[in-house]
């Protein structure tokens, strides 16, 4: 089930209520600002999920993923979980992994037990399925359900919409620059903080924490000012 409470047209009206009545931005600009907010939200939080099911091919160890999955999180083989690893670990631990299949015998498992990401859209499994025609289910973060029509509903609860609208306003205001853009920086930080609440892994990045205003430099008086350079100069009033 998807959320069906607010359409793109309604969301755009809410965004346009945040900027002054002078038509400095068109409806089309408002729409792409909203979609950029949705895509950035998805990138940071992985809010929307998806699943694809592949059929294994005999002795094939690499599997390209459909473009509906942005990146993969878990893989199962015939419903049985597979362990994630890294390409480096697999190559170091099993140097001949490409040549090993479920029929190899010895200490090679009789079903694929490990998967490794190679790139966003490509994974490898070990050992390769000798028989083929088995189910490989890949769960992951889906591509963003962007809004292309005014009647489409945004698939988010209303509680998540305010930081998104603030970010959309911030994105649109880059066009104006100066004080107007400066005044939207707190909206950007609020958006990043909301994303960090959804995905705590973001806070492991020092750069992210500084952009989100989560880095309490008062506790580190000997270190340089907290804001990244680009944010600091924009906060100082821009160039107008």
């Amino acid at each position: 089930m998807a959320y069906q409470s607010i359409t793109r047209a309604q969301l755009r009206t809410q965004l346009q209520a945040k900027w002054e009545g002078v038509p400095f931005w068109t409806d089309a600009e408002a729409n792409w600002a909203i979609n950029e907010a949705l895509r950035t939200w998805q990138l940071l939080t992985g809010r929307w999920k998806g699943r694809i099911v592949l059929s294994t091919a005999p002795s094939q160890y690499e599997y390209p993923l459909a473009s509906t999955i942005l990146y993969r999180t878990t893989v199962t083989f015939n419903g049985l979980p597979m362990t994630p690893s890294s390409y480096t670990d697999l190559s170091a631990g099993r140097p001949r992994w490409r040549q090993e299949t479920t029929a190899s015998g010895g200490d090679v498992p009789r079903r694929p037990t490990v998967w490794v990401p190679i790139s966003l859209g490509l994974i490898a499994i070990w050992p390769a399925d000798a028989a083929g025609h088995n189910g490989l289910a890949v769960d992951g973060v889906a591509t963003t359900p962007v809004l292309t029509d005014d009647a489409e509903y945004v698939n988010l609860p209303s509680a998540d919409l305010d930081p998104l609208l603030g970010f959309a306003l911030h994105v649109a205001s880059l066009k104006r620059g100066g004080v107007y853009f400066q005044q939207t920086l707190p909206d950007y930080q609020a958006f990043l903080q909301a994303a960090a609440e959804q995905n705590q892994i973001l806070t492991t990045s020092d750069l992210f924490r500084r952009w989100a205003g989560l880095d309490d430099r008062a506790l580190k008086p000997l270190q340089s000012p907290s804001a990244p350079k680009g944010l600091a100069v924009a906060s100082a009033g821009g160039d107008q």
Partner: protein, 214 residues
């Protein structure tokens, strides 16, 4: 997202009329400048994050130590040697001439199954394997390819997923706002550069296998 859609968004941000990136009537930027800025930002993102991986299968003759890399090569990700006639499949690890020479100080190993590759002290777009293979085979080179040429007559999809299109956009805007002239906006250029760097940071976090999302 296509290049024309992204160029249109850039036009909106630069106060140019949005026509899919066809014209920039203000004269502050030329169309080619903007297209080049987008291409450069895209390739910088690809190289810094290794977001997309391609591969090339290169036939190697016995005794051949150097091979030519594809023209769209940005950075090597991994190399695998497959000997002819069901020969060994071996991971070829990155090393340097210095390391290889010290691993074989007597210089007795001149041919055999390739163990290492170097791509840092050879001419551009060449990769050297050591030792040189004593039989023919195929070198599978996994690498990060450059994005396709943008700005053509037909809309071209970006080489990155749509979720990364804004990172490319801010990378391009950083260059465009930084251009000397009436369009120069150093504060917005620095802000856009920071957004681009943050996009790279987020991408690297995602590509580590421990990223599991919410």
């Amino acid at each position: 997202m296509t290049d024309q859609e992204l160029l249109g968004e850039i036009q909106d941000t630069l106060l140019e009329p949005n026509d899919g990136g066809l014209t920039f009537p203000s004269g502050l930027w030329t169309r080619q400048e903007v297209v080049d800025a987008v291409s450069d930002a895209q390739n910088q993102l690809l190289k810094a994050t290794q977001l997309q991986i391609g591969f090339a299968a290169i036939d190697v003759l016995a005794g051949q130590a150097r091979v030519a890399l594809p023209e769209d090569w940005l950075i090597t990700w991994n190399v695998v040697w497959i000997g002819d006639d069901d020969g060994p499949v071996r991971e070829v690890v990155r090393a340097s001439q210095f390391e290889f020479a010290h691993a074989h100080p007597l210089g007795l190993v001149t041919e055999g199954t390739p163990e290492v590759y170097f791509d840092n002290d050879q001419p551009l777009l060449q990769l050297q394997i050591a030792p040189a293979p004593n039989t023919g085979g195929t070198l599978i080179v996994w690498y990060v390819p450059e994005g396709p040429a943008l700005g053509g007559v037909l809309a071209e999809p970006l080489a990155v997923p749509d979720e990364w299109a804004s990172t490319v956009k801010y990378g391009a805007l950083a260059d465009l706002f930084g251009k000397d002239g009436r369009g120069r906006s150093p504060e917005r250029a620095q802000y856009c550069r920071g957004r681009f760097d943050l996009g790279i940071e987020i991408t690297r976090m995602i590509l580590r296998s421990t990223w599991v999302g919410p």
